[in-house]
Symmetry: C2
Subunit: 223 residues, 2 copies
């Protein structure tokens, strides 16, 4: 399941994370020697709440879904990490020497390059890499603020309408998947979708939602 990163790795890694091409030779060598490629199957929990952060993950393929887990088993998605991005929570935990406060799940079969703590800290000594992390930090912060706004102030119909928009005219998705995305339950999503359909905003069929009236949905999303 795991093996040392070798030379053959560099091409895709550097393509996905261009900032790494600017590294001095010593840092680059260290990365090659200490980073490990890990393959995890879809659905695997890569890290979890209260767990110590073992290393910094670069996503080579697939994607991570980072969620906050409720005591009752429900999950609120916080953000996703796709190839070329980084996980703000991992950075924060490594920098603050704190345990994880969220759960990371492989959405599909996913290949990660895991960089041990010490080597991550060393990499931060490189200005280019540090700026790269900083940049992603600030983007994620904005996302999290948006999320706080949504869960604290928005009603579910607004959030659902917003979720449906901007993914094309026809969505192939189950009600359960939409509910998961909102941190809600299937019945409520069905109820709301039925309401949308009655208003002529969408048309429903099995595992499919057709957007009939995007403007109307936008109105619902932001009323």
């Amino acid at each position: 399941m795991t093996d040392n990163a070798d030379g053959a790795l560099n091409a895709p890694l550097n393509t996905l994370y261009p900032v790494l091409t600017a590294l001095p030779a010593a840092a680059s060598l260290r990365l090659q020697q200490h980073a490990q490629v890990v393959s995890v199957p879809a659905g695997a929990v890569v890290f979890d709440e209260l767990q110590a952060c073992q290393g910094f993950p670069f996503v080579l393929s697939g994607s991570l879904r980072v969620v906050k887990a409720a005591p009752n088993g429900r999950e609120l998605p916080l953000y996703r990490v796709t190839p070329g991005e980084t996980c703000i929570i991992s950075s924060a935990c490594l920098l603050g020497h704190a345990p994880y406060n969220a759960r990371g799940i492989a959405e599909t079969e996913t290949r990660l390059l895991l960089l041990p703590n010490a080597d991550f800290q060393a990499l931060l000594g490189e200005a280019a890499f540090r700026d790269f992390i900083f940049q992603l930090f600030s983007e994620r912060i904005a996302d999290l603020m948006q999320l706080i706004e949504e869960v604290a102030f928005r009603k579910l119909d607004q959030r659902l309408a917003a979720l449906l928009l901007g993914k094309g005219q026809r969505l192939h998705v189950t009600h359960q998947q939409l509910a998961d995305e909102l941190g809600s339950v299937r019945e409520i999503v069905s109820r709301l979708l039925k309401g949308f359909a009655e208003q002529g905003l969408v048309a429903l069929s099995r595992e499919q939602v057709d957007i009939l009236n995007p403007a109307g949905l936008r109105r619902v999303a932001s009323n």
Copy 2:
């Protein structure tokens, strides 16, 4: 209301933000020349949603309350910035060249040292300062994760119980202030407090809450 930072400023600033003592002379000079001291009265809005971020604030005295404002006028407190701390949202907005996505309010009469954008970016060139910001970033992230957990999953009685704990045995506070802290309304807090009182967890009087049974409150907070 504002005046240029002069030599007399350095002592308190350096005491509050020890990282600044390590700056090279050039950076230190730049700070002195470009930073402005601003005094704002209690309740003043220092920055607000969608507003461009004008500069990076160091808090010299007083404190900032950073909140997310709901369309209906209610506010959810995100965190506070006290002297010696920094505002993660300001950093994120400056780094990401994005507008503010929250509101900052002076809790009391507050003195700020405002560092213009360009000078903040320049300061980030100093490793010590960058690490300082990074460290606070990660602490705040943990706070925000905690907040998301609370608003998404915790019931109000749990949050209220948690809020009452750890502030000593006798709190001098109005129900309205507690409600504001939770992003809720006075009536609900009164109702919940009455419940707590009936269970013998607290005793109520005007502008005062006495904690009678901390263990019981902890149980409520985490059931």
